[in-house]
């Protein structure tokens, strides 16, 4: 009945003849619109621990006849041995392409593509991941391939050579897109001597041998170092059984050697990489709170206000909207385990490099000196809290997320408490983290661009380290 009443109401509204735009009824103030309440209790994935210690999260979702599996492994480029940079990435690549003890890589590709399933394995800095998408009807066979890839990869020599060749070609081409070059170089300068700042080179990739991959896999891919999430058209009990039997023989043979977080910098630094072209890429970054730290909440709000909150954020508003000096500009913050990373950036025409860098630095310094305005804080907090619902937009995401919370050592109620933690952030908390983490003497600045066209020499900002990258 309620629905019928509404229909009538809306039809009546339509019967008013559409009039000239100028005399149409005034639009309501968008600030005063009233919204129905939003209620949502996200489904909770179930946590299971297998006998060998592997943690599994499971969530049934019968909407579509598909199954998604995600695995996260505590390994990444941070664990590359010196001289063998690129090992984690190439190991992940060749696990996927180099076959298993049961099938060759080509046989796997043929089977997966014929059944329109997909498996991917990739490695980041501090974590690697493996993902599976499959139509329900093909689950068993594809799941077997997936588990073989994780536990018994064959590392076929020809596929290894191909992976190395492609990576080397990628490195040869890294400067073809200046911004990509800039963000890559930035990792080296912000992490300094830490393993996270040692990146693959043509030489280090060239050195990688099959034995290195096999040893690396053996050392890091074991049940206690892996977590998995499965979501989709599955029966909870049945699927847990399948995981149990499939991974039962997988032994905990490897060992985890924690990699120290990047150390605090003794002083600020400015780096310049000479690259001809019409624009400069400017990045100013700082080490930031780790994900577990209570500081990560005010810092998330700070980052939003500074540059990740869209058009209204300070950096975007000033450098793009007010000055018209950049298309891409803003900031990012990522809290990881043991450390966090914050970066602010702008891509601007060469002739405005000095102007933009100096504005960027002013905005960052100002954050540590003056409290944020009340309206800014309200806007940032509301934005983060209101968009939080999108963390639950698919069961696959919900399940993977719960897995990642445990992976990062966060409390199980992390998500439930998140909104309250953000809402509890006060202006002085934001000022506090800005003053602590964004201090001038902790800044790492990188400019990739053509110095001959700069409006102001970089040396006016401090001592400049030239990067020789060719």
């Amino acid at each position: 009945m309620a629905r019928l009443a509404l229909v009538v109401l809306f039809i009546t509204a339509l019967l008013i003849p559409p009039s000239d735009g100028a005399c149409s009824p005034p639009l309501p103030d968008p600030q005063r619109l009233k919204y129905p309440p939003l209620t949502f209790t996200p489904p909770e994935p179930e946590r299971v621990e297998l006998d060998n210690g592997m943690v599994l999260y499971v969530l049934e979702d019968r909407e579509l006849p598909v199954v998604n599996v995600s695995a996260v492994i505590r390994v990444g480029s941070a664990y590359d041995p010196p001289g063998l940079e690129g090992l984690a990435e190439i190991t992940a690549h060749v696990m996927r392409t180099g076959g298993t003890r049961a099938m060759t890589g080509d046989e796997i590709d043929d089977f997966l593509e014929y059944t329109a399933a997909s498996i991917s394995v990739s490695s980041g800095t501090d974590a690697a991941s493996a993902d599976l998408f499959v139509l329900k009807k093909d689950f068993d066979r594809v799941f077997q391939i997936f588990s073989d890839i994780l536990t018994r990869p064959a590392f076929d020599g020809k596929k290894l050579e191909l992976a190395k060749g492609l990576k080397i070609e990628e490195l040869r081409r890294v400067a073809d897109v200046p911004q990509r070059l800039a963000f890559r170089e930035f990792r080296k300068v912000i992490y300094g001597g830490n393993p996270r700042g040692r990146l693959a080179t043509i030489e280090s990739v060239g050195r990688l041998a099959k034995e290195d991959l096999a040893a690396f896999h053996k050392r890091f891919f074991f049940p206690r170092n892996v977590m998995m999430a499965v979501a989709g058209d599955v029966d909870r009990k049945e699927i847990v059984e399948k995981f149990r039997s499939r991974f039962a023989g997988w032994q905990n043979e490897g060992r985890i050697l924690p990699v120290a977080p990047p150390g605090e910098k003794a002083s600020s630094s400015i780096h310049h990489l000479q690259k001809e072209g019409p624009q400069s890429t400017i990045i100013v970054g700082f080490l930031a709170p780790e994900k577990k730290s209570p500081d990560s909440y005010p810092f998330t709000v700070l980052d939003f206000i500074l540059g990740s909150g869209g058009f209204r954020s300070r950096i975007f508003q000033e450098i793009r909207s007010n000055l018209g000096l950049a298309y891409s500009t803003g900031s990012y913050y990522e809290g990881r385990e043991g450390y966090g990373i914050f970066g602010s950036y702008a891509i601007t025409r060469s002739e405005a490099t000095g102007t933009v860098l100096s504005r960027l630095l002013q905005i960052l310094q100002d954050a540590g000196r003056r409290q944020v305005r009340e309206d800014e804080l309200t806007w940032a907090k509301k934005s983060i809290v209101n968009s939080f619902i999108f963390s639950f937009s698919s069961t696959d995401l919900i399940t993977t997320q719960q897995m990642m919370i445990e992976f990062h050592g966060l409390p199980p109620d992390y998500l439930r408490a998140y909104r309250n933690r953000i809402e509890a952030v006060h202006p002085e908390d934001v000022l506090g983290v800005a003053a602590q983490y964004l201090r001038d003497e902790r800044a790492t600045t990188l400019v990739v661009g053509d110095e001959s066209k700069f409006d102001r020499p970089l040396s006016t900002f401090g001592d400049v380290h030239k990067i020789d990258w060719r």
């Binding site: 629905r3 509404l6 229909v7 109401l9 809306f10 509204a13 559409p18 735009g21 149409s24 639009l27 309501p28 103030d29 968008p30 600030q31 619109l33 919204y35 309440p37 939003l38 209620t39 949502f40 909407e63 579509l64 598909v66 392409t97 590709d109 014929y114 329109a116 991941s129 139509l135 492609l166 070609e169 040869r172 073809d176 897109v177 963000f183 930035f186 019409p278 909150g309 869209g310 058009f311 209204r312 508003q317 909207s321 007010n322 018209g324 950049a326 298309y327 891409s328 990373i341 970066g343 891509i347 025409r349 934005s383 809290v385 209101n386 968009s387 619902i389 937009s393 698919s394 696959d396």
Partner: protein, 510 residues
């Protein structure tokens, strides 16, 4: 949880050439008739009295809603000398309306009119080039600066973005292509009315604040995404070469000299003329009651007056009669583009090209990947796209490839031609064809998992193909394609005289 590096976090606000990647996605899409989820039945389609077409799909998975507005206008409609207008307009629509983004619209309007007149005079003087009067330029520039400062005091910056963001919006963005201009956002489902309020207002009452600084932003965008990115610059050259007369030869972002002097008057005319309800498709997908959602759409968009759209006079591309070759020298490694003219949807041959596209480069077992990347090791990357740079008019089937050092672009090109010859001579095996059909079917199921993805596709095909059911009928046509059809289409279109080849050549060190 975010496994991506910092570069991916650059929010690509308003991307002019988004159409390239969008198309690649759209054409790898096909449904399964056997699958119970019947999209055709579930989508509620309604045309308002003013001609606005609304598609609503209820999906109660979580309390969010994704919203797409597609205006059937793009770079295609721009006049010569005003390329980039559709895209600049897209940027301007984030600047607010008469009631959003102002402290006092009546006072603000007086200054904005002065800004318009001053800016026009300044552009006209600058267009004189060598004969321009430096003194006049300096005087007008100073006046414009003063006026802009005054206007700043009367406006509220980036208010549309603030309203959306504060209410929990994600994926707020817009894109301009040759055929369409798109505005999209996802919101908590209870905020549907906010979207209707803002979007109907920006169709009716847009106000072009900060016009000149925003024009500079677009120049920066061009520098970043075209001038500094040799592959994109090559694409621009390639399209300008492949098309001789049709407007698809022009870049969506516009030629630099055009963008620099685009006028507020033209942009305003463009907006009034083409962002009309009878030229617009809306898709609403998510946790909404279709009846209530339609009510909200009617309440806000129903009052917008339709306009009579000017007749579109588009020059047809004459038949190509010989291979075209072009090279770009740049400070970057070699790259190769090979394109062939072909008809667009709903031509049967266009469906055959969707299949050829998948056969050639979809996945590791595809023909070009397996032979050129894996077996012969001469390519670093290879992909194809059916339907560049638009789908309203006959377009191109394009092969994009990068050679792996020390192999050259010439070597790679010859190898690609070899594989294309095979398509003409040897029938595709039943299993290979089945693989492609299986992939198209799985895509549909996979795509059903995303509100935004669905809203994007429904509105895209409704706007370009005239009927969203193109999505569900695509697979039926694809299933009917035979190995003979593929050979026939390859022999018809994939011939040297119909071909354009563009290569990026690494500039020699000075």
């Amino acid at each position: 949880m975010n496994k991506q590096g910092p570069f991916h976090k650059i929010r690509p606000l308003i991307s002019a050439l988004a159409v390239l990647s969008l198309l690649a996605l759209f054409f790898l899409f096909g449904p399964s008739p056997s699958f119970a989820y019947d999209l055709e039945q579930k989508v509620v389609k309604h045309e308002l009295e003013n001609g606005l077409v609304v598609l609503i799909l209820e999906r109660r998975v979580n309390p969010t809603v994704s919203l797409y507005i597609r205006h059937k206008v793009g770079a295609l409609q721009e006049d010569e000398g005003s390329t980039g207008a559709a895209h600049l307009l897209e940027h301007m629509l984030f600047k607010g309306t008469k009631t959003i983004g102002t402290k006092d619209y009546r006072r603000e309007k007086r200054i904005l009119d002065q800004i318009r007149r001053t800016g026009n005079a300044l552009d006209l003087e600058r267009l004189k080039g060598e004969r321009a009067d430096r003194g006049v330029i300096d005087g007008l520039s100073e006046k414009l600066r003063r006026l802009q400062t005054q206007a700043k005091g009367l406006m509220v910056d980036n208010e549309i973005d603030r309203l959306y963001t504060e209410n929990g919006a994600v994926d707020l963005n817009a894109s301009t292509g040759q055929d369409l201009t798109t505005y999209h956002v996802s919101l908590p489902a209870n905020k549907l009315e906010l979207w209707a309020r803002i979007e109907s207002d920006r169709m009716m009452n847009p106000v072009f604040r900060e016009f000149y600084p925003e024009r500079d932003v677009v120049m920066e965008e061009r520098k970043q995404t075209v001038e500094s990115t040799p592959k994109r610059k090559l694409t621009e050259l390639f399209l300008a070469t492949a098309f001789q007369a049709h407007p698809y030869r022009r870049p969506v972002i516009g030629w630099p000299s055009d963008v620099q002097s685009l006028s507020m008057d033209y942009i305003e005319w463009f907006s009034r003329t083409y962002h009309a309800p009878n030229n617009t498709v809306i898709a609403v997908v998510g946790d909404v009651d279709p009846v209530k959602a339609l009510g909200i759409v009617k309440k806000y968009f129903g009052a917008i007056k339709p306009v009579s759209l000017p007749p579109l006079r588009i020059t047809a591309e004459p038949t190509q009669q010989g291979e075209k070759r072009v090279a770009l020298e740049a400070d970057a490694n070699p790259h190769l583009l090979i394109g062939y003219h072909k008809p667009t949807l709903p031509s049967f041959d266009d469906y055959v090209f969707d299949v050829i596209d998948a056969l050639l480069t979809r996945g590791r077992t595809s023909r070009l990947y397996r032979t050129l990347v894996e077996e012969r090791g001469i390519a670093e990357s290879i992909s194809t796209a059916n339907g560049l740079p638009g789908a309203k008019y006959p377009n191109l089937f394009v092969v994009m490839a990068a050679p792996r050092h020390p192999h050259t672009a010439e070597e790679l090109e010859a190898a690609i031609h070899g594989e294309i010859e095979k398509l003409k001579k040897e029938p595709v095996s039943p299993r290979e064809l089945e693989k492609v059909v299986n992939q198209f079917r799985a895509d549909l199921i996979r795509d059903l998992d995303s509100n935004a993805g669905l809203a994007g596709k429904l509105s895209y095909y409704e706007a370009v193909a005239g009927d969203f059911r193109y999505i569900t009928r695509h697979i039926q046509v694809v299933e009917s394609i035979t190995p003979d059809d593929i050979m026939k289409v390859a022999r018809n279109y994939l011939v040297p005289e119909n071909r354009t080849v563009a290569t990026l050549v690494k500039r020699g060190k000075p």
